[in-house]
Amino acid sequence: MGPCKEPKKRTEYRCAFLCMISIFYWIPALRGVFVIGLSVLVLFSCARIESWRVGAPIAAGVDSPDQDVAEYLRKIYESVRVAPNAGLTRGKLAMAYDVNGFHAEALITYRQAEFLDADDFLWPYFASQLQAEVGNYVKALDALQRAMAIDPDYAPAWMWRGTWLLETGQLNDAMIAFQLAEDLGAGPMAILGRARVMARQGRDREAVDLIAPLAQVTDHPFVHRTLGESLRALGRIDEARVAMARGKDAEPVVWLDERGEQRTIHLRGYASYERAKSLSGSWRIDEAIQILERLQYYHPEAECGRDEEFFLACNLMNSFSIAYDRLGLPSRAIETVQRGLVLKETFMPFHLTMANLYRDERDLDRSLVHIDRAIELNPAHGFAHEQRGRLLFGLKRYEDAQAAFESALQFEPGKRTTLFYLGLADTELGQWPEAVERFERLVRIDPDFALGHVFLARSLAEIGRLREARQAQRDAVEYGADREAIRLTEIRLRELEAKQ
């Protein structure tokens, strides 16, 4: 079903025309006429598509086994059928298809919404986002152009334009787009965009000049990585290593896009559970709980006690508990997990969450019981071993803590937090040479873990390697360590230096 319904008469006229010009094909001398006629017909059809009336809405996903998705899509679809010429309703349907995975239907419906409401920025804007997500940058730029014709002053749109032009190698236009974005207040990411274009153009010196000040004020790994690549191109390898180390996390470039964020409001089903967790992690707890409550209507707590298909119901309970804890309701959080454990004692996340909750309540012994059970259920979970180590550290059982951290490293050998706590345990036991080895390993794996340099400095000083300690302290400053930590270490370094 396409966006347009062709009147019957037009079909007949078109067919008759095609038939007539087909005759010319059979006459070799007049074959060119056939080609010209065919071209005209095709062009005419394309041109006419734009002005055809928008057809009926497309139905999709209404029979999904995900009841949350199916019921929601059904509801919006019915609202469109009731008001077929309302652009806003059609657009909502497109958004619902978009975010719930029905991409082809979403693109057609966005176009329908555009025809019905030519002044609404959102429909071509969202269509452009969707096109870009599936790699159709040319179509994405076309749709974005239509959106920007409606509102040329929306800075995030210029950021997208710059990004997609950069992706497609249109560097000069990308530079213009990022500059305009910056002029419209897009912020540091626009500067990053310009630097990326410069780097692609081989203007690495200019890129470094532009982005180095930005790298001083932001921790965004992409900024540091871009700086590192330009430094590398200029042959400044040592500086490049530092920058690359600070850019090692895989965090994509994002910028504030209030209109773009609306695109996900119609997310339903299991995918919305993932969104809820993300919202909860960003401390948007109320929004998260709203989603969790809606999902729990379809997956009530009792489902958690089943032998099969218990996963989502148990996870919802676990997520509720975490959300309550973040809201400052620890009792409610604990009660929720306790109910969960009655239903499914073998669900490992319950034990991890309960361990955290009891730890926050300073009941480390009870916390340890749950961590031990979590490990029993999944011995290969490095994080659980690390948590165990941290609990034992809190209980001042430093040797047991060391053993737990060593177990964690079996499964996640380079994990910075585990190595760091292992080093801390060494320092608590006065095992300074071992601590030096741990922290040296830590900063070798993760040079931008600034606290690692701080404690390396301390540990080196304790075994008399004062010159190396001073270098480590300088590295700590370079990698942006906490000032208080540096100050305390400095005090100790001076004490030890005075003794020598």
Binding site: E12, C15, A16, L18, C19, M20, S22, I23, Y25, W26, F34, G61, S64, P65, D66, D68, V69, N100, G101, E133, V134, G135, E167, T168, G169, P221, F222, R225, G228, E229, R232, R241, M244, A245, G247, K248, A250, E251, P252, V253, G269, Y270, A271, E309, F311, L312, M348, L377, N378, A380, H381, G382, F383, F411, E412, P413, G414, R441, R444, I445
Partner: protein, 561 residues
């Protein structure tokens, strides 16, 4: 009007059909001849309604001459069931011996190589330097080292060798990393997974499907075994500096990426940053993928790296990298700039690859026009809605390499996958080699829960020449052969590893196009030494043996060096 309309429609239809018939149609590049050539293998993943992660991963294949009769035999890895041992018919790996013309006979009980572990992949290499190729099979569970007796019969020597990594291994690679003359072993591990931690995951429309690897939060560490030279290996993972990183490893290969004479290792990790282990000498390594800009894509996204291929695609003398990913993620073509990689995926025309989920991948000159082409074996890992039949099946893809406006590009070949009949399965492992020795490179594709494809090359149009590169009694893994073809200086390395869970023919193949001579053939051996071997006429396989060429000075500027 009705009669007239009917006549019109007939005339129009005839015209259109005539036009379609007259339109040029590209001849197929390959034809699937597995059954006709004696391959009766069917892969079993063990899936029976509740998805278990390992079912989605395997398996691989090897094209390798196990019996020393100078043709390529075929070894196929079977999986079986995750939770129990099936009868040998559904769980044992299989060996097919080439009669010499591309027809195969099954070896009874794979001549001792019929390991019945839940198979993942296979690596090939003469680890004991006795002149025959041995096999290393990776499993969910203990891996297995199979020693060849010279006649293509195998013995399980895992315990003696000390290489039975008990984890979930996927890819493996024999490579002489310490340049001491014997092949060390690098094993890539995927997850610290057990059935006890399996969970339900859901697709976008709430269908139960396979989980992504990061859901389990149990990435695994890879292992490096140093060959002691006496049939045994020592686990040197920690000492080598490898034991500082972990990932969800699926693909690996080795090459000298920085041109210092030492072989480095690349690991493609699934949904985590890739790893590039730069060889510092004395079996010490530093992980530098971030510094080399191959850890993630230009947008800072850790893609789902599965298969990996390497080659000097742009003929500039260094080895480029290609990592293939999930649908809606482009491939990652990392163009080697000498001391770092540049993500040139779009410039190469590989944007459209994101339609499918890619696993096996090879860069090879199928049409012998002198440019590397690209074949990708595709198959989904998740379902978004229930379908009849194999919902994970996808057609494979073939791309022709060419030069346009002075730059290399890949363009998809139609019919899709290069075969007349559209072949659609859940493809995984992929190996390349000339099984009928006609100068056209053929392909073996392993399909999940189905028979494999044996895609015989029908398109080989240009001239060709091939080299068996030997260091002592074995293939010189990691050696780079250079030749001048027309005005282009080409480089091809001895690289049986790569792709996905598979091993390919280690012989080095050059397509010559219309040229009839490969001029100025030189070899850069692992360690950096270079030798010249002169010119070679088209057709046939020639041996280049270390010590039999003219030694070149390190910076020799002889034309064609």
């Amino acid at each position: 009007m009705n009669v007239f309309m009917r006549l019109c429609r007939w005339l129009t239809s005839s015209t259109i059909l005539l036009l379609c018939g007259c339109a040029p149609v590209e001849a197929p590049w390959f034809n699937d001849e597995a059954t006709e050539r004696g391959i009766s293998f069917v892969h079993y993943s063990g899936y029976d309604s509740r998805p278990m992660m390992p079912e989605m991963v395997g398996s691989g294949a090897a094209l390798v001459d196990v019996d020393g009769d100078l043709d390529l035999d075929l070894y196929l890895v079977q999986s079986g069931r995750v939770d129990k041992l099936l009868p040998a018919s559904n769980s044992a790996n299989r060996l097919y011996l080439n009669r010499g013309n591309g027809q195969f006979d099954e070896a009874p009980e794979a001549f001792g190589a019929d390991d019945r572990g839940y198979g993942m992949g296979v690596a090939t290499g003469d680890y004991d330097n006795d002149g025959d190729v041995d096999l290393y099979v990776t499993n969910l569970g203990a891996n297995v080292m199979l020693q060849n007796d010279g006649a293509g019969h195998f013995k399980d020597v895992t315990e003696t060798a000390g290489v039975g990594d008990p984890g979930w291994s996927t890819a493996a690679n024999f490579v002489d990393l310490d340049a001491d003359g014997d092949l060390d072993l690098f094993v890539v591990n995927y997850l610290n997974w057990t059935p006890a931690i399996e969970r339900d995951c859901y697709g976008s429309a709430f269908f139960v499907t396979y989980c992504g690897p990061t859901v389990y939060e149990v990435p695994a560490m890879d292992r490096l075994y140093r060959n002691n030279g006496d049939g045994t290996f020592t686990d040197v993972t920690a000492a080598a500096g490898i034991g500082v990183a972990f990932g969800n490893g699926l693909g690996t290969l080795s090459a000298d990426f920085n041109g210092d004479g030492l072989l480095d290792m690349f690991v493609a990790n699934d949904t985590l940053v890739n790893q590039l282990w730069m060889n510092l000498g004395d079996l010490r390594f530093a992980e530098e993928c971030m510094l080399w800009s191959c850890a993630m894509d230009t947008a800072g996204i850790e893609k789902a790296g599965m298969g990996v291929a390497s080659g000097d695609v742009d003929d500039d003398g260094d080895i480029d990298l290609l990592v293939v990913n999930l649908e809606r993620q482009t491939d990652s073509f990392f163009r080697n700039e000498g001391s770092y990689f540049f993500d040139a995926t779009r410039q190469m025309g590989l944007g459209p690859t994101m339609r499918h989920t890619r696993f096996g991948v090879v860069l090879a000159d199928f049409d012998n026009d002198g440019r590397l082409d690209l074949y990708e074996a595709n198959g989904k890992v998740a379902l978004s809605e229930p379908v009849e039949g194999d919902g994970y099946a996808e057609p494979n893809s073939l791309y022709r390499g060419s030069i346009r406006d002075g730059a290399v590009r890949f363009d998809e070949v139609k019919p899709i996958g290069g075969t007349q009949l559209r072949l659609t399965h859940t493809s995984r492992g992929l190996a390349v080699g000339d099984v009928d020795d006609d100068g056209g490179l053929d392909l073996v594709v392993v399909n999940r829960d189905a028979a494999p494809y044996l895609l015989m090359n029908k398109v080989s149009r240009g001239n060709w020449v091939r080299f068996k590169v030997r260091d002592g009694v074995r293939d010189a893994y990691g050696a780079v052969v250079s030749a001048t073809v027309g005005t282009t200086r080409m480089n091809r390395d001895v690289q049986p590893a790569g792709s996905y869970l598979s091993a390919s023919d280690p012989r080095v193949h050059f397509g010559l196009g219309k040229e009839s001579v490969a001029k100025g053939v030189t070899v850069r051996w692992p360690g950096g030494e270079r030798e010249a071997f002169g010119d070679f006429q088209q057709s046939g396989t020639h041996e280049l043996k270390r010590g039999q060429g003219v030694v070149l000075a390190p910076q020799d500027s002889t034309p064609g060096s």
